[in-house]
Symmetry: C2
Subunit: 318 residues, 2 copies
């Protein structure tokens, strides 16, 4: 096991000058509804509005000066793209972001706003990989994968480490799972810091590849995922899957209605903006599919990037 708590502690030191130490919030009315005590680590308040900045920042600042000078590259149209662009700008190096030409213009604008250089490609996996390979061949940039990268996983684990520093006696810690970067980093940080702590992930029913992967023991591809939680569409990676298998108790799937209800409750009662992916572990409590009553639970609220003009509870009116 090359990825240890020490790597996460190093990441925490490395990103400390650049990342926010996000607050931990609680909500009495949610606790009463779900019958547990919940501590929310608010990565929606993180730079670029998502935990992704931790991993990208750790990767960028792990590079030698020589490597760094050539820049970093990735293909992503989500929070990772913006996170990598910002981290690169902070180090003063270029970030090459490959995006499908069909990506929403607001996402391209986001990356450009953080100083990233966008290369558009056809919206297929082959085109994305070919375009990324071209970019790398041209300038020698270092590829930073959104989750299947030890530097990224170690960075994501720093959120759980901070949460446990503030609330050391958690019984259980929960995250959403997409590619598994946040979940595997969290699992290492939590189980190494506090042996015996339970780690559970929430996953949308309509994108349940991680659930099926754990059930079958083999990484299952994410085929035509259908969910509002657009940060959780990818399948697990070769690095994240073994960590999850070893350290995560189970993955609980939740319905779309549960995700939307949980998200709306958090907005209404906590007065904070979270994205659908962040509501997925909250929906595990909301739908009461497993009994977690009476426990002290930490939840990583993964991000807060939403299109305010297209909210799930107003769509029926349009």
């Amino acid at each position: 096991m090359s990825l240890s708590l020490e790597r996460i502690q190093e990441a925490a030191k490395r990103i400390e000058p650049y990342a926010h130490r996000t607050p931990v919030l609680t909500c009495g009315s949610l606790d009463r509804v779900v019958g547990a005590r919940v501590f929310f680590k608010c990565e929606n308040f993180q730079k670029v509005g998502a935990f992704k900045f931790r991993g990208a920042c750790n990767a960028v600042f792990s590079l030698s000066d020589q490597e760094a000078a050539k820049g970093v590259a990735t293909h992503s149209s989500g929070n990772h793209a913006q996170a990598l662009a910002l981290a690169a700008r902070m180090r003063g190096i270029p970030a090459y972001i490959v995006m499908p030409r069909t990506a929403p213009s607001v996402k391209k604008a986001g990356v450009l706003g953080y100083g990233g250089r966008v290369s558009l490609c056809e919206p297929t996996l082959e085109a994305r990989e070919a375009t990324l390979a071209e970019v790398v061949e041209r300038g020698g940039a270092t590829v930073v994968h959104p989750y299947n990268d030890e530097r990224v996983i170690a960075g994501q684990g720093t959120a759980a480490m901070e949460l446990l520093e503030e609330v050391p006696d958690l019984d259980l810690i929960m995250t959403p799972v997409g590619g598994g970067g946040l979940l595997s980093g969290t699992a290492i940080a939590a189980t190494e810091t506090k042996p015996g702590i339970r780690v559970i992930a929430g996953e949308p029913e309509g994108a349940d590849d991680a659930y099926r992967s754990l059930a079958t023991g083999v990484i299952q591809p994410s085929v035509k995922p259908m969910t509002i939680a657009d940060g959780l569409l990818t399948s697990l990676g070769s690095l994240t899957f073994p960590i999850i298998r070893e350290r995560v108790e189970r993955i609980v799937t939740v319905s779309e209605a549960g995700i939307i209800e949980a998200m709306k409750f958090i907005w209404e009662r906590m007065k904070i903006v979270i994205e659908p992916s962040a509501a997925v572990p909250v929906a595990v409590l909301w739908e009461r599919k497993i009994d977690l009553s009476g426990l002290k639970i930490g939840i990583i609220l993964s991000g807060g990037n939403v299109d305010l003009g297209n909210l799930p509870w107003t769509r029926d009116n349009t």
Copy 2:
């Protein structure tokens, strides 16, 4: 001048076991846009989602046991009604809330949810006052006006006091103005704590009675106010107006578009939910009607109670 800093300090001690000490947040991207350094006192995170809890709580816990036993009463369909109901429940006494029968059912449900006793009346000022008088005559409850009450004004002033404890070197402090409870309490707390600090209020152009009152030197009624900032529809009171005249530098009016843009920016960048009234002082910066560049500015974000199913930036799509 009977209302002194001492009364606000007493209020702070009195409400301390019941109210949240809300966080002060900053937003680098807003600072860059408006060219100032802004410190937000987040009363959207206050109990019942608004600063109103401070004043109601101070009033309820100021009563003698004998007075308190008979309960409290008010007419309001806004945040004050919920605030008074919750404060009364905390003291274990009844709260009688007179509301027009046309009030949205969600507002009635809110008051009932905090244990308030709702009396419905016709939607006229006369009917509201008559119904309130009846309630008081029947049981001897103490009336707690939403703003024209020294206990309430002192309670509202505690938010600015806390803000200045945390950021003592503010040049300027801003609030919205409706009936003037928050503004007058803030003005006393700020100018007594830090002589020379500037106090400015934002007011919607479509409900500019306070602006006209300052201009004419006489309280102007709020006639058919038209604004999305539904917490700012009332006119100034006999207690709040003299304080504002004495201590507030000016009132700046803002457009509806400015309020909505400022509100959306706060949601998108700060990932927090604020109500339109709270966005009004932000809109003063947003619209740059007066030059505040380079200053260190405190803003009281007054509340976060909004109907998520009916947001101003999605209405055009319906």
